[in-house]
Amino acid sequence: MRSGRKTELLVDRLPTYFTSDQYPVCYQLFQSMELCETCIDKLPIISLFSCVQCGRDERVGGTSHCRDCVKREQQVERTTTIHNRSVLRYEEWTKELISQWKYRGDERLTKLCSTLLQIGFIRYYSNERFDCISYVPMHAGRLQERGFNQAEVLAQALSIKLKVPCRPLLERTKETTKQSKQKGRTNRFFSMQDAFQLRVEASQDFSVPRNTWWMRPFTKTRRGMRILLIDDIYTTGATLQACADVLLSSELWGDHEVRSMTLAR
């Protein structure tokens, strides 16, 4: 391969996804990632025409929503849906990346994944200010089996880069069967009911000012909390929705706003 091919590809591809003020930072981040030319060529970055609500790379003609969101709006039952953004489309390449990282346990890929997430943050949320980053918890049994919580690792890395505190606000009470092995949208939503609850220590977490000297201290504002939820994959949104519901229903800190970001959608 010719030298500078990577740069060539990046210069070719990136301007379509990023605005001129995001571009220089993102270009640097892409350059710092350990990806080969073929991978950068294949990288399924979500395009500009994605769903406003869930971040899916698809819009039903004429609207600004994807098929799922349009359908959900028609059903009327569930009015609140989580505002989500994702970095990559859940395709072959992303599947391979996530299975290698999550299921095989190749934790070297953590760095790559967290950089991708950071790029996503710059792209979608750079104008917004969050007070806290949290993540989708894993059941203790599953956690012990796997050895690490991929959402937590991502959230920690992002928190360090953004200097926003990362707190484990939630815990999992119910051991559900793996989301990836469940069939059907309603099934997934159903199984997620009451799967999470607020941690007892959650309120104390915020009273701790900061865990390192460079972290921005938590300040309680009048408008309530703005929380960013992190997960690795958004498929139907069942998990993230359940988490957001728990956070929103708790009356600890007034009315908050919950946004979410995932690696793949």
């Binding site: 391969m1 095989r104 346990g105 070297r108 956690l143 012990q144 050895g147 919580n149 390192t212």
Partner: protein
């Protein structure tokens, strides 16, 4: 999560440290041997740390042992104090080093290893309590059906039952603990005592626990460092330090052998050697067979005798008449093949640990190993054939199964379902060898020079570990790497003179045909010499290919071959060159546009294309080095484009040249190396081929 207990066993003023996941079993075991007392030192979840501590404590205990003259009580107190202090200090040191090494990546948030040093005798580990409870639950269910008896005894029975099950079924393996649970499907009632059963075997010294990633402190004058080593693949550079939720503390995993399950500090690797003994011990067998018999065997095997017919003949050779004869092979050996096969056979019963069969491409290597396999099988041993590629495993398995019809042949590769079965003949890819532990008496390594072996220490380590102590290794190759040549080929000596000094030096140019540890088969089975390649230097070769300018030697060769209706291999160094060469050929041979094709490793239609080439649907095939081995096309020629590329080393070029002239009806063919720049590898390859031809014509 499982906790491991480090304790000291003391008896008659000698003490040693041991590790157990289930303290109960150890208590019982040592109670059977009277007079020994146990004292817990501490507990930890990190297996790597506790094994490092055991070594440290054992060192300390050795020092204490020498101090006599103390009264019994004082001696014991002093011993335990020392052991605990050593353990505590070592843990601190490890943690200090670990924090120092992970500080940068962890952004100041670092974790460390935990070790609870036991201060009082009373508290038992969590694991022991868990075990007791689970046993009781299990026993209650059992007691309902049986009469009430001693609870202790029943526990003992269960553990023994597990131990015997493991010993009989899971032998000759080195597995992560999770992998051993595959056998639990066969014996679900043993689940409770599974770990205890292992521990029982360890105490009986029939098995071994190991942390799958080992930890030690590497001391040096400049600075001390932590050294992690993967016990399965023995690599040190491929260890990543992480925080682990499985053991809830600092941990490290190996990413070199990740595809076979994660090796971590907190996951034990269970090694259970194969207890099978050879019916006659290898060395004891030598004197029992008189030399005269061996000689007659050798003479009888010489041309044109066949092994199969020999087995049926009467006479001194019929010593195995009462044994089973496993080999049912009807083929013939050529005189040269017969002598090499006989040497390999006698190697099995000799004292030397390894043997090299150096046979040129197309000499019929597979058949040569049959007598050796037969010999080891008759002695009651197990054989493994390790080959680098899955395709070869699949191709070889039916051939071997046909020749040894009475024994089931296992084909083991990454996606095979037979991985967990046992058999006496196993054909395995090299990576699967990592799961074996002292299992085979003879390992035959095919294509030593091929990709995974070459320059990979891990696979040699795997092979070494899979052999029972005193087992044999048989290397097969057409182009053995230099280090193997130096190790096994006994070159002649020569005297050199520098000034007035005379020196004995190894003479690498004198290549003996056979010795104690190697045998060379320099000619093909049909007896014709190997085609010698030509080298043509073309200036600006790449440019000419890209611009489709004529390259006379290439075009001449292609025209000649097309006229004689022969097929052509074109080897290129990189995948990106394939379309370039394809357009070049299609431009210059417009009549054959449909019959020119390219293939590479990632090609989805790879197998189909190779098959079509074999059936002569294609005339020219442009390929990367994937087809350098194992492909036999009867009437073919070979061109290597850009033979100066690093990927074409001497061995690779010899293999490529060996594709040509393999069948008896057309033993000649053209091999052309086109180089753009001066290169040594083609010249070396040609020299090696010429040397073999010379040896073959003797």
């Amino acid at each position: 999560m499982r906790e491991y207990v480090l304790y000291v066993k003391e008896r008659d003023r000698t003490a040693s440290a041991h590790i157990t996941p289930v303290y109960e079993v150890d208590q019982q075991f040592w109670a059977e041997q009277e007079g020994s007392r146990l004292h817990i030192i501490g507990r930890s979840r990190s297996l790597a740390l506790i094994f490092a501590l055991r070594e440290k404590v054992n060192q300390q205990l050795k020092d204490v042992r020498n101090e006599d003259g103390l009264p019994e009580n004082k001696w014991l107190d002093k011993t335990l104090d020392r052991a605990k202090k050593a353990a505590g200090d070592y843990t601190k040191e490890v943690n200090r080093l670990y924090v120092r090494e992970t500080r940068e990546t962890g952004y100041g948030n670092t974790v460390c290893f935990q070790m609870d040093i036991q201060q009082t005798e009373k508290a038992l580990g969590q694991s022991c309590r868990d075990f007791k409870r689970s046993i009781q639950e299990h026993e209650e269910y059992k007691l309902e059906s049986e009469s009430k008896s001693n609870n202790q005894l029943l526990t003992q029975n269960l553990v023994d039952q597990c131990a015997t099950f493991i010993e009989t079924h899971v032998k000759g393996r080195a597995l992560l603990l999770e992998e051993t649970k595959k056998w639990l499907e066969q014996a679900p009632h043993l689940e409770t005592g599974w770990i205890a059963g292992f521990q029982r075997l360890v105490l009986l010294e029939k098995a071994e626990w190991k942390p799958s990633v080992r930890l030690e402190v590497k001391r040096s004058a400049w600075k001390n460092q932590l050294l992690f080593t993967c016990e399965r693949c023995s690599s040190q550079a491929t260890i990543d330090k992480v925080e682990c939720y499985t053991c809830g503390q600092a941990c490290a995993y190996c990413f070199n052998c990740l595809s076979m399950g994660r090796c971590k500090c907190c996951v034990p690797l269970v090694c259970i050697p194969n207890g099978d003994k050879l019916s006659l011990s290898l060395h004891a067998n030598l004197p029992t067979r008189p030399i005269s018999q061996l000689n007659t065997l050798a003479t009888r095997l010489s041309p044109p005798a066949t092994l199969a017919s020999l087995e049926q003949q009467e006479g001194p050779l019929h010593m195995h008449a009462e044994d089973n004869v496993y080999l049912r092979w009807k083929g013939n050996f050529s005189p040269r093949q017969a002598s090499v096969a006989e040497q390999a056979r006698s190697f099995v019963t000799s004292v030397s640990p390894s043997f090299l069969i150096w046979a040129v491409c197309g000499a019929g290597k597979t058949e040569l190993i049959f007598p050796a396999m037969e010999e080891i099988l008759q002695l009651g041993g197990n054989v493994c054939i390790a080959t680098p590629r899955k395709d070869v495993v699949l191709e070889l398995a039916p051939r071997i199964a046909q020749v040894f019809p009475t024994i089931s042949v296992l084909a083991i590769h990454g996606s095979s379902l037979q991985k967990w079965e046992n058999s006496r003949i196993v054909i395995s890819t090299t990576h699967q060898m990592l799961r074996n532990y002292q299992r085979f008496h003879l390992i035959i390594i095919d294509e030593v020079d091929a990709f995974p072996y070459h320059g990979d220490q891990m696979l040699y380590h795997a092979v070494k570990r899979s052999l029972v102590p005193g087992g044999k290794t048989l290397y097969l190759s057409a182009t053995p790497p230099t280090y193997l040549q130096k190790q096994l080929v006994q070159f002649g000596d020569m005297t050199t003179r520098s000034g007035c000094f005379l020196r004995r030096k190894t003479n690498y140019s004198s290549l003996p045909l056979s010795s104690q540890s190697h045998a060379i088969l320099p000619a093909r089975y049909h007896g014709f010499p190997l085609p010698v390649p030509r080298v043509e230097r073309i200036s600006r070769l790449r440019y000419k290919l890209e611009k489709q300018l004529p390259i006379p030697p290439l075009l001449e060769l292609c025209n000649d071959s097309l006229r004689e209706n022969r097929q052509i291999f074109l080897f290129v160094a990189r995948i990106e060159m394939i379309p370039v060469v394809l357009t070049y050929l299609r431009k210059h041979f417009p009549d054959f546009v449909g019959q020119i094709e390219g293939v590479h490793a990632a090609d989805p239609e790879r197998e189909h294309k190779v098959k079509a080439f074999r059936q002569k649907e294609y005339i020219m095939l442009v390929t990367t080095t994937i087809l350098e081995r194992g492909v036999t096309i009867p009437r073919s020629d070979c061109v290597v484009l850009e033979a100066e590329a690093a990927i074409f080393d001497e061995a690779s070029l010899v293999q490529i040249a060996g594709r040509v002239g393999r069948s008896a009806d057309s033993p000649d063919g053209d091999v052309l190396f086109l180089v753009g720049q001066k290169a040594t590898a083609p010249r070396k390859a040609i020299r090696q081929i010429q040397r073999m031809n010379k040896l073959g014509s003797l």
